[in-house]
Amino acid sequence: MTPKPKIKDLLDESACAHNKTRKTACNAPTPGATTGGCAFEGAQITLFPYADAAHLVHGPMTCLGASWETRATKTGWEGRDLTQVGFTTGISTKDVVFGGEQKLLDAIGYIVERYAPEAVFVYATCVTALIGDDIDAVCRHAEGKHGVPVVPVHAPGFVGSKNLGSRLGGEAALAGLIGTAEPEEATPFDINLIGEYNVTGDMWQYSHLLEELGIRVLSTLSGDGRIARIRTAHRARLNVIVCAKSLVSLTRKMEERYGIPSVSLSFYGKRDTSAGLLAIAEALGDAELVARTRRLVAREEAKLEEKLKPYREVFRGKKAVLNTGGNKSWSIASALQDLGIEVVATAVKKATEADREKAREHLGEKGVLMMNPGAEQSKIIDETGAHLLLAGGRSLYTAIKKGIAFADVNQEKKKSYGGYGGLLNLAEDLKNALENPVFTNVARRAPWEK
């Protein structure tokens, strides 16, 4: 049997740059002063884009009831998209008292019989972990009985943050799927995309370019993923980490176990997309491929520049304040700069130290790195005469009071901002925001107000 993942090991990630300075890392929610998702949510996010797998949540109603159909993880899977189907054992008081293992086994059987998935992921949750249901044994039994992979995911919410949960999701795929099947053929340019979830189709903004270059995406974890493909992931030549934060442990272990090197990059904005494509080509170590990639990048950039021309005029001289978290504090800044917008400030409160350094590089000496954006952003808008605030919904009123344009970059976005094509989407959305008179209009005083 596969041993349960060791939480401590995942928290003490040697591949993390900040590891030397922050030993207790990423896992200390404060009672009464915290927001953000739990480990279960992170695990779901990581594995959820496998539309050909059933995702069975073994727990009470909260865990699935408030989480299914929440993420626009698009899929090209032609069968029924099982990410749009919510499965839960929905355990009751009786299960809490007597245990939920039989119910879980029956539920897996029900799903396999009626929905014929390529695999079943079984998620432990706080309550079923606490009552001690042995989901490993149930999954093993069900797998033998039904002949499809049944993969236990040990990420009950109380073990920690969303980020830790993503790592645990990766661990589940590594333990239960990766290396369990061989690809029909191998190419010298086989890669895995790791930590790309294809939210709003982000991956499709660049996957066609990889294809054109002759780089084959052997498997993904897990954007537009297929179970049959992730089982063959150990034969790839390169792991491409799109979101380093969530799955860096997994790629390190794949390097140790299968000798697959990795590169970490972002497909946000023009410069990052180009640099990313080149980094993949260089890591694959083929001079002709690198030359081909340079030509493609030049062509795509020229095409993009042509399409951005009408926007350049709108964005000329415009200044933006950016209040978001994590790697977005610099990656969106970079995309905005690609559009010719000056980023005068970005929030780094929720960013890692590496992200802060990158934010400083992107914004230069003059740019403000906000440690307390809630209080600072309003002042900075006044001081710099910024025209645009990009933030989460809570900052809306700041924009209304100042009468400046606002774009929500934290809510579940509806459009893809990834790759070259996504930058055009971002340009269009920002143009609409800047030209929209609503913020000035809403800021009008009522006739009865002094």
Binding site: A33, P60, K103, G157
Partner: protein
């Protein structure tokens, strides 16, 4: 009344639309001015709830978590997590009340929140809401009942002009407001508990506060026991009325199973007339009654040919099914999140406690769906008409202002349902 089936034979739920008790309790606490709901569990329960309501109401939602971790899950009886939470919350903001409620995790480990609450020197209401029992509606009712039991001051005096309204969980902010106004037009001062009509009604606030604004005040809750009348809407709220009666034996109680459609609104008007001696309600009420009658006639051509699936919380189902039935639509299937005595009263051919997979299996029996966002995929896959109602609705804006109750809302609701059914029929026949 049709056949009612209360027990699922399945070992799981597929495409559930049921929500949890902790989510219902949190929503109830958001109907109290400057209250901070504090969910006692792992961070995810609160995070999901926050995101869920933020998207549904398109408003920032104030809520906190005791952030139970792997260590505190085993070693702490709630004392550390809860006391630390209250310290951290009150260190930043000054809520009028903390609404402490449990989750499956903390119920399973057996925390005695009542004992912990006793050690906290801050206005706090505690309530047990395990998420492996009940659902949104019962969580809301449990929290409301706890507020009455723990906050309301007992008295024996009565203010005949004062009326306490206890609305069920599925009534939208504007529906609560309309019911308050309807009753107030008979001369009452109406206090709703909880009151989403002024807290989650989507008004543009003065600033981005870390606490919800609007809703009934804690002072008003404390003084609720001298209300001459308590009005409950929805069977789930009966226990709350009993709790209020315990505070003052002279309070009288009027119960309405729902306020959907002509008959139910007539019953409310009739009772209020009897109570107050008012012989004719205010002109707008009489005018809206005529408009509803006209809407029923205008809509009956389309609705009379339509068979409907309604999914929702029990009290919500009862209102929709009655309103549709009165205008000639036949409710073929009503699917409820949880069991309730209310299910016996629902005018539908089939009533079941279940999920959207059950509804999908019965898809040949209806053409129009009244239900939440999750029903959208079902409608799209099988070409059904859809009227979006209930939690969640993330695709549309304006949920807080959707009004389906009383004469006025009933008219709007029937028009929308009839138009949706017609549009689909024309679309199908045209192609």
């Amino acid at each position: 009344m049709g056949e009612v089936s209360r027990k699922s034979k399945k070992p799981l739920q597929v495409n559930p639309f049921k929500l949890s008790q902790p989510m219902g309790a949190a929503l109830a606490f958001l109907g109290v001015d400057r209250c901070m709901p504090l969910m006692h569990g792992a961070i995810g329960c609160t995070s999901y709830t926050k995101v869920y309501y933020t998207r549904h109401f398109a408003e920032p939602i104030a809520i906190q978590t005791t952030a139970v971790s792997d260590v505190t899950a085993i070693l702490d009886g709630g004392d550390y997590s809860i006391v630390e939470s209250v310290k951290n919350i009150t260190g930043k903001v000054t809520p009028s009340l903390i609404g402490l409620h449990t989750t499956g995790l903390t119920e399973t480990k057996g925390d005695d929140i009542r004992a912990v609450a006793g050690k906290i020197d801050f206005p706090l209401v505690h309530v047990n809401t395990p998420d492996y029992e009940g659902g949104l509606e019962s969580g809301w009712a449990l929290a409301t009942r706890a507020m009455i039991e723990q906050l309301v001051t007992p008295t024996e005096s009565i203010d005949d002009d004062k009326l306490a309204l206890l609305p069920h969980a599925s009534l939208t902010p504007v529906e609560v407001e309309k019911i308050k106004e309807f009753i107030a037009s008979f001369g009452y001062e109406v206090l709703a508990l909880p009151d989403l009509s002024t807290s989650l009604d989507g008004h543009l606030g003065e600033k981005q506060a870390a606490l919800s604004g609007g809703g009934i005040s804690v002072e008003q809750i404390r003084g609720l026991a001298d209300a001459g009348l308590v009005v409950t809407v929805g069977d789930s709220m009966q226990g709350c009325a009993r709790a209020l009666l315990e505070k003052n034996p002279f309070v009288r109680h009027l119960h309405f199973r729902h306020l959907g459609g002509l008959e139910a609104t007539d019953a409310l008007a009739a009772r209020l007339m009897k109570e107050t001696g008012v012989e004719r309600p205010q002109p707008p009420i009489a005018r809206w009654r005529k408009r509803l009658q006209d809407a029923m006639l205008d809509g009956h051509f389309s609705l009379g040919q339509t068979r409907v699936l309604v999914v929702g919380e029990p009290d919500q189902l009862a209102g929709f099914c009655q309103a549709l039935n009165e205008a000639g639509a036949r409710v073929a299937v009503a699917v409820s999140t949880v069991d309730s005595p209310q299910l016996e009263t629902i005018p539908a051919a089939k009533v079941l406690v279940g999920d959207l997979e059950d509804a999908e299996n019965l898809r040949d029996e209806y053409g129009l769906i009244v239900g939440n966002d999750h029903a959208e995929a079902l409608a799209r896959r099988f070409g059904k008409a859809l009227v979006l109602r209930g939690f969640p609705n993330w695709e549309q804006v304006g949920n807080q202002l959707k009004n389906d109750v009383l004469y006025e809302g009933g008219a709007y609701f029937l028009f929308e349902a009839a138009n949706a059914a017609t549009a689909l029929r024309e679309h199908k026949e045209g192609h």
